[in-house]
């Protein structure tokens, strides 16, 4: 669809992109309005705090129970899906996942793949890989369809086109969709998308989807959606390929209702989504619709690295509701594109370093005021602020021999570390502290008036001419 290939960029350029959004009143209004809307919708779903807290604890316990058994559950899922007739594939890297998916497409001489909303497919940049292989990959979620038409990436994991106004979408449709005149009537715009995509569902040889929960005991792939495009992609084309991260697995079907309730209420403030689609096999003999083949691609892409460390493993509890970004003061001001990663916001900051390495993401965890809102709203109680602190430590500490993460120490600077060591020494010794604070009060005026990023929007830092201890002494 797009004329040029866009890639998710690592944190290089993060400041420039953030500044561009902060300086753009239309974008700021889009994000502010959308986040206020989503926060109030969520709050309305949880009027009873005891219910919310006990459900969060249950959600956390379910996710931790299943993660603790992850290798066994993956095998159980694989054998149950296989018994049900669903073919299971494993991929360590995005390239391997693309090779598997495009291999299936090529075996069936597929020209077109219609896609339901899948962040994992964004993570592996499937659309670009498909394009390079001469296979069309068309997004069918309305928000994803809009950003794909615009040649952009989703700016939010639940509401991909949240950065766009309806007037921008109206102009986009008038420019890019054949035979469409400008209209900014939302119902009319949705009908335009519906009509275009209904043709494509019928034409496509492949339907691709993500997975919200994979149930090991029954061999079932669960999908949450409102539009019905997910059902179209998983029912109309002759082949269905689902892709998921290895962590989205639950052992028991009864684990699903609490997680589903947490997911839809936290994400969009709905008591349940319009559709909850549970797929357990391809079309059986005698059945008159549904795909003849169903495939599941299980993707690692750094998740096993997070899994190896007890604290970092909590990252994998995530059910991708997006509540952390909706409540994040940083996300609200800079939007999703500024991060330059597939997953933006607080969850993006804790999951992306495992996928991309700390070399590319060293400063991500620093784009936080540590206000704690993300951790408070997380439906499965991921301690996001703690993990941000840990990732700062991993990124900026001196490289060592047994790192827990790829790229550990990538942000290490001997000079900055020396400054902090000196700072710590001064603060540990009362005599040194007295001396240094005295020097500061006498010679603080010699500090430069330009102090890097600090003075770009603030007055320079200057020690007071009199220390507190001096003032107290004067008062007697």
């Amino acid at each position: 669809m797009s004329e040029h290939t866009l890639h998710f960029k690592p944190t290089e350029g993060f400041r420039t992109r953030s500044k561009a959004v902060v300086d753009n009143p239309v974008l700021r209004q889009s994000f502010r309005g959308a986040m206020d809307f989503l926060m109030s919708k969520r709050a309305a779903q949880f009027p009873d705090d005891e219910e919310l807290q006990s459900l969060r604890s249950l959600g956390e316990a379910i996710r931790q129970y299943n993660l603790a058994k992850l290798p066994d559950l993956l095998l159980q899922l694989e054998s149950q899906l296989t018994a049900n007739g669903i073919q299971v594939h494993w991929a360590e890297t995005p390239d391997e996942a693309n090779t598997i998916i495009l291999g299936i497409c090529q075996r069936h001489s597929a020209k077109l793949m219609v896609k339901g909303k899948s962040m994992v497919s964004e993570e592996i940049e499937l659309n670009h890989a498909a394009e390079a292989a001469g296979i069309g990959a068309l997004e069918s979620d309305m928000g994803e369809y809009i950003v794909q038409l615009a040649g952009e990436k989703p700016s939010h994991i639940i509401m991909p086109a949240i950065h766009k106004t309806k007037e921008e979408i109206a102009r986009l449709f008038a420019d890019k969709v054949d035979g469409v005149d400008y209209t900014d009537n939302v119902d009319a715009l949705i009908q335009i998308g519906r009509n275009v995509l209904r043709e494509k569902f019928q034409e496509a040889a492949i339907g691709l989807s993500g997975v919200n929960f994979a149930v090991a005991e029954t061999g079932t792939l669960c999908l949450v959606e409102n539009e019905g495009n997910g059902r179209m992609c998983t029912t109309v084309p002759p082949i269905h390929i689902a892709i998921t991260g290895i962590e989205k697995i639950v052992e028991k079907l009864e684990h699903v209702p609490p997680l589903l309730s947490l997911l839809t209420r936290s994400a969009t403030g709905q008591n349940i989504s319009t559709y909850f689609n549970m797929i357990s096999s391809p079309r059986k003999p005698g059945e008159k619709d549904g795909p003849e083949e169903v495939h599941l691609v299980l993707l690692d892409n750094g998740r096993s690295q997070a899994y190896a460390d007890e604290q970092l493993r909590k990252t994998l509890q995530c059910i991708r509701c997006g509540a952390c970004m909706n409540h994040c003061p940083v996300y609200t001001r800079i939007g999703g594109h500024a991060y330059g990663t597939t997953y933006p916001g607080p969850i993006g900051k804790i999951v992306s370093p495992h996928m991309l390495g700390l070399e590319a993401t060293a400063s991500m965890a620093t784009a936080s005021s540590l206000c704690g809102a993300c951790g408070e709203v997380c439906p499965v109680k991921i301690p996001i602020p703690e993990l941000l602190m840990r990732l700062r430590e991993e990124a900026f500490s001196e490289p060592h021999a047994k790192p827990a993460m790829r790229g550990q120490g990538a942000g290490y600077s001997p000079l900055i570390s020396a400054i902090w060591r000196a700072w710590a020494t001064v603060y540990r010794s009362p005599a040194l502290y007295r001396l240094v604070s005295w020097l500061g009060s006498r010679f603080g005026g010699l500090l430069p008036s330009r102090q890097g990023a600090w003075t770009s929007v603030r007055v320079p830092l200057r020690p007071a001419p009199k220390r507190l201890r001096d003032m107290l002494k004067e008062r007697g």
Binding site: I146, K166, Q202, N226, V236, T274, D309
Partner: protein, 226 residues
Amino acid sequence: MSARDRILAKLRQNAPSTANALPDVATWFATHRPVESMTDKAKRFHHVIELAHAEVHAVNADTWTGKLHEVLKARGIEKLLVAEGTPHGDAALDDLPPRGIDCSVYEMAIEAWQSELFDDTPASLTAARAAIAETGTLILWPDALEPRLMSLVPPVHVVLLDASNIHNTFYEAMTAEGWSSGLPTNALLISGPSKTADIQQTLAYGAHGPKELIVLMLGAPEGAAQ
């Protein structure tokens, strides 16, 4: 070593040595969700699914095809897709054509008549296996007689629900019906007509699936359909 073996080896090497206790889902639902009478469940279901823009009508075994005729006529719909071989599909096939509604049936695999389903099927009738009061949700288990696309492609979807099959919660539905011992090809929860808020958070119905969802509630207790 395959990708599978490498992933599993990495996970196994670092998996926690002790298992966590099985989470007690049953107790949470027992202490946080009401168990209601059939009347109250029907009322709750009706109220919640209406909030999601579905339309609900109380019917009984003798009147429901009449109500079905009425809701179709009110929309100017003269053609209905039904599931031949099911009791409700056969009842519609008997009652509606004489009253001017042409009934088509899903007799062939989709490949043979896909464009007719997409372009020339304004409405469908299916049954719901059960429902969920808490979230105003219909449970459908499509099968060979009543295939998956019947509840997705036609712009108007009419569902016949027996009010005695309403569960309090999703959890209760799956445990009471023993779903963990085996699920069909596709099981569905449907909680309203298709919708989206992807354009500037403005709600629009009929995104990709049905624009209207109409529930005919059979045997709804007195007062449940108000």
